[in-house]
Symmetry: C2
Subunit: 740 residues, 2 copies
């Protein structure tokens, strides 16, 4: 029995050891060698949300906007140093920061010969001279660093001619003037901002023989009609009568001399004679105070009702001034422009927090740094948010309490105001690396246009992460409403999938996201707080690109208390952390199905009949959309199954690669050879107003008045094939990776 | 004591359990949940090498080449079914196989009106008619499925004129004729294969007013001078006098009607009037028997010594025949071509073995299936190797003894002979997916040109894996020599890094690798056995593209015993397995450093002085090469360190992504807009013979005779920038992934 007992004891010991082995293998979480997949840490997220501080944003904004910091100016470079110092701070900085430079072509007014707009009487006497600077209302408009109003890249020249009023300077506007029998050859056209891009006004004008262009901001378009000094800044947020919107009149983006190449000192540069996209004729912006003097004295027939504005007179078309006005009837307007092109060094500032698990996956977050004058709103409201996010993340990083799963790259772009130059050169220099590795690009330029609601532009894959983030953040000044619940009251749409949801806008080329989405095909978004459209019809915040866009303007009128700035910081910060830290990449690619279906329906509705008349079937497009939809649906099921199981890091990496790279499959660098940098077949610019496939819509618009069999109709078919192939290719990237 | 004992027993049990837990956690290799990284299994590799069977390759070749299988013919489609059946075989097949079709534009001779080449006397009588078919020497040349010799895509027409001899039909050859005072307008030019591409002969001829082109193969170029029936097939491997090389005379590749778009039925197709790249004038290939009748009767001065051939007479230039020859002096040659363009369905066959660990990484291996006639060598020698590799791998797969780490995709391309059409359409259809996921493309077209030595063409990253594979395989018929050791005797170079090594050729556009390397930027290679160049100067194996390329030709002359076929199967199979199964991807990207350095040195030597004269510095290129070299060296050290440690799968995946995607960073779709599909800035075609940066070399060649300040010199600077940016971008992808 004894021996049996011992045996029994031996068996028991073996069994216990065996049980332990099994327990050890299955029950202990994988430790040092195989850590549990690093996922978004909700406590870290909560800490970040809590620490993003409105008063620090305010203080940063004060410093950033203390002086004018025009691109490549000494103050712009001083801010480069400020950013480097912050991002290299041992207590709250990032892992590394650099400030690479590009040598880019900028355009400035001459310091010796100021640009001038004058009314010249028949004997050559000067009857009126428009202001050369804005009025010094707050003591900040008079300094030597305040660049006088000008149209960047507008050519020098001194045209003189009879004045005409050309409304917004669109192609239609000039045709209307022609229809009215007005001879445009040799005239000066007074136009107002809006309707057409800045450069487009001069391009359209030149086609009709116009010799020079003036541009002003009508109080009807920016001030809800108000124009008196006591109604405007510094007494309200409205634009003062002397305020002038500066801006780039270049039609493309990126350094004009180095398209598709980074503007390194040794890079090939186009000869100036081969540069396209500059305004063809001298152009100068003026304030509405001066515009009123010109416009309210015009001769001729009354302009259309839709062309009238809020200057308090009947807008006439010209040409020339009326005899009973302030100027003699045969007076002309002389526009003297002395702008100069200069090669300048412009810096980007780049900072990185290296990813702990997938350092080769980048979440990019950027804003430009350069302003026209003080640029408190544009761009410093965004830069202040960027600095605050970097401070909070940097502090956690330096304390050792957090490191993101993926790498986070923060960027302060240079020379955006001249045409998104810093960001574009960056995408040209690191094309391959960025295209292979970038998860998403977040842009926060002007962070607060106004304090009513969030506004997000982005491609469909970013919708869900923005929704997730904004549902968890309190909206400023609205009690207990989340940003999401507040947002949905201002911008919403009925989604066939989700019901009523906030509506995201689509991405044009208004800020530095443009090269990322259009050239690299990286899922991108632009985040800001903005207007209650029931309260204002202003095109944009009234002091945009003027010398009145100052700290006090923000502090007193735009966002007192900086709650909206904080809301944007929290939104962008949450989206950033979710993208950098989530084990499963929070890009919902199946949200593209809804977009494609709506583009298809719009194409069927708007173009279907025309196409059918020309024997072109949308059938292949229908099939392609269906293929995308079913691939996306199947992928969603795959994701759900993975999330319920315990997938290893490689399985999730493979899935995440599909999600990250979907946007790339919509790129076709040969789709729109005329549209520099635009390769994304879904978001390229298009002429019509319908949200549909841009290449197809544009080609139809060109072809519709041509004969069957024309090259234009061939182009319609080519564009149809291009989008079909892109959608089929996109569907193929979503299908199981080892399907044939 | 009892209680103590129990306690003791309890303590012991707990300790045992605890020990077991610890053992279980640390000692048991990670099992089902976390398998040890799956790596190349040398036993599997050895099994595959052993099982690749020469006699099965021989039997497959017999079946594949039993009947002519011109693209899209019934026999071509029958072979599609044969491949599908093999790849779907339950015992030796793959995971899945499909045969997608494209609708492509092919060119065939008319069946009703045969193409004719005649000598027409002054009164219109026919003095000589060239053969319309090859002589039926083995009973295989007479069948209805033997397509008569023709120049595919040559336009129909019946030009008639005096005959001239234009050597190889290069631009220089026609200039030489001009210099000799020979009027080319309206003539028929007799040219020989070699020197210029097929289509280029007609293009060059047409520029000089030539009305029609004949092309023949000179025995000096293909038969080491032999030409008599008893010296040629079926009595030797040499080309019989009636043999004619067929071929595509299209200058680009891919379906001519759908550039950059997959040729789906619904795809946009160019109008024929907008198609470029077809020969501009009627063209017809003939045998050297007929060529002799024409050439040896020519009038005029003797051709240059370098223009003479082995037809046994003095080659004269013409124009027209000599009075004392077989034809009257004013006889002309009439070329009647009735080729027709037809839209045809052409199939690719695709098979997949799904990867066990990284199914989203593809190793592609392909060859075309279509032939001109029986195509025993071209392409069936490659297809037989493909089938044997798929049988061996499929058998291991179906037995459950092996599954690759990554997915293996096998492809049998259609319509290669007409211009790499099947493979090109495939790359157009799945552009995004392939570019994101493909590790490498292996091409084995003609597997055996001759049985002397291995010959590999490929980009630098594939060199090391080919070396590793070939060092382990016995060379056929050379005792104990490895394939590597045999190879190095025939093709070698002195590498600054490795000393004397076999030299890889670079990839042109001779087979289906072209769209993969040039359009997609995927590291590619082409593998074959080939000649002892000390024993033959034949341009290519003599029966290339003729009706004499039959099974017996291979079995008796090219590779009796099929040892070379087996050697190629083992080489390609080993390379394939190493690429699909190795944990660390065996692509040695740092081998690009040597190439870049040699390209740079060649540029400095050949172009440096010229560039300096024009104020263009190669300095930025030097810097870029240095950056690449140091990034590659640092990456090598990183790899060594990783390999010494125990890296997790994600770390190695990230590294492998860098290795896989390096080749992509050399792509620039805007670099060579005129060169369809060529986007790789290092391997695009170039005019000179120096191995250097092609864009730069071409631009210099165009610019060198133009004035400083010309557009051509601007293009030189642009090309220099393009290559600098590509190299800098490539270096950036090799640097640590979280470096700024």
């Amino acid at each position: 029995m004894q021996s049996l007992k011992v045996l029994g004891l031996g068996v028991g010991a073996a069994a216990l050891l065996g049980l332990g082995v099994i327990l050890g293998h299955f029950a202990i979480p994988k430790g040092a060698n195989q850590p549990a997949p690093q996922d978004l840490d909700l406590e870290v997220l909560e800490t970040v949300m809590r620490q993003l501080d409105a008063s620090r944003i305010r203080e940063d904004l004060r410093e950033l906007s203390r002086e004018p910091h025009l691109s490549s100016s000494p103050r712009d470079e001083a801010l480069v140093q400020l950013l480097l110092q912050r991002w290299r701070d041992p207590v709250s900085g990032l892992d590394a920061a650099e400030a690479p430079q590009y040598e880019v072509l900028l355009s400035f007014p001459s310091q010796e010969q100021p640009n001038l707009v004058e009314v010249v009487g028949p004997t050559g006497d000067i009857l009126h001279t428009c202001r050369q600077r804005e009025e010094n209302l707050t003591g900040e408009q008079g300094g030597p660093d305040v660049v006088p109003p000008y149209a960047a890249y507008g050519p020098p020249g001194t045209p003189q001619g009879l004045l005409v009023y050309a409304n917004q300077g669109t192609e239609e506007d000039f045709k209307e003037l022609q229809t009215q029998g007005i001879k445009l050859e040799g005239t000066i056209a007074l136009t107002r901002y809006g309707g057409a891009g800045r450069g487009a006004k001069a391009v359209n004008a030149a086609k009709h023989g116009v010799a020079g262009v003036l541009v002003y901001t009508d109080p009807a378009d920016i001030n809800d009609g108000l124009s008196l000094p006591n109604e405007t800044f510094p007494n309200s947020w409205h634009l003062p009568p002397s305020g002038v919107e500066r801006g780039s009149y270049y039609e493309y983006f990126g350094d004009p001399l180095t398209p598709y190449l980074p503007a390194k000192p040794s890079s090939f540069r186009l000869d100036l004679t081969n540069v396209s996209g500059f305004p063809p004729i001298p152009t100068q912006p003026i304030g509405f105070q001066d515009a009123k003097d010109l416009l309210c004295n015009l001769n001729g027939t009354s302009a259309l009702a839709t062309w009238q504005g809020a200057l308090g007179c009947d807008y006439k078309l010209g040409p020339g001034f009326r005899a009973d006005g302030d100027f003699s009837a045969d007076s002309q307007v002389k526009v003297s422009v002395y702008n100069r092109l200069e090669l300048r060094n412009s810096s980007n500032v780049l900072g990185i927090i290296r990813g702990a698990v997938e350092p080769d996956r980048y979440v990019l977050y950027g804003n430009h740094r350069d302003s026209w004058v003080h640029g408190a709103v544009d761009p410093s409201s965004g830069t202040a948010v960027l600095l605050e996010i970097s401070r909070v993340l940097g502090t956690l990083l330096k304390k050792g309490t957090w490191r993101p799963r993926r790498s986070i790259v923060l960027a302060s772009w240079g020379a955006e105001e001249f045409g998104l130059i810093g960001s574009t050169e960056f995408t040209e220099e690191f094309f391959s690396k960025l295209q292979e590795r970038t998860v998403a690009y977040i842009n926060v330029d002007i962070s607060v246009f106004a304090n009513a609601t969030l506004r997000v532009q982005g491609t469909p894959p970013v919708q869900s992460v923005v929704f997730s983030a904004t549902k968890e953040i309190r909206s400023p000044g609205t009690g207990d409403l989340s940003i999401y619940d507040n947002w949905i009251q201002y911008f919403n749409r009925s989604s066939p999938v989700y019901g009523i949801v906030p509506s995201l806008g689509s991405l044009g080329a208004g800020s530095d996201y443009a090269p990322f989405i259009h050239f690299l095909g990286i899922s991108s978004m632009d985040i800001a707080y903005t207007y209650d459209r029931s309260k204002t019809s202003a095109r944009i915040y009234p002091t945009y690109h003027t010398a009145f866009d100052t700290f006090d303007y923000v502090d007193k009128f735009l966002d007192p208390g900086f709650g909206s700035h904080q809301a944007v910081a929290r939104t962008a910060g949450s989206v950033l952390l979710r993208l950098s830290d989530s084990f499963f990449l929070p890009l919902n690619v199946s949200d593209y199905s809804e977009t494609l279906r709506s583009f298809l329906q719009a194409a069927q509705q708007d173009l279907g009949a025309l196409l059918e008349q020309h024997g072109i079937s949308l059938g292949p497009l229908v099939t392609a959309v269906e293929k995308f939809e079913s691939a996306a649906e199947a992928l969603d099921q795959h994701i759900s199954a993975l999330q319920k199981g315990s997938p290893d890091t490689l399985q999730v990496r493979m899935l995440n690669d599909q999600l990250m790279l979907l946007e790339r499959s919509f790129l076709n660098p040969r789709a729109f050879p005329e549209e520099r940098y635009y390769s994304h077949v879904l978001w390229a610019p298009h002429t019509g107003s319908t949200a549909t496939f841009p290449g197809l819509a544009n080609a139809c618009s060109t072809a519709k008045d041509t004969d069957p069999g024309s090259e234009a109709w061939a182009e319609v078919q080519r564009q149809l094939s291009i989008v079909v192939v892109a959608l089929e290719g996109a569907a193929a990237t979503l299908r199981p990776v080892a399907d044939l």
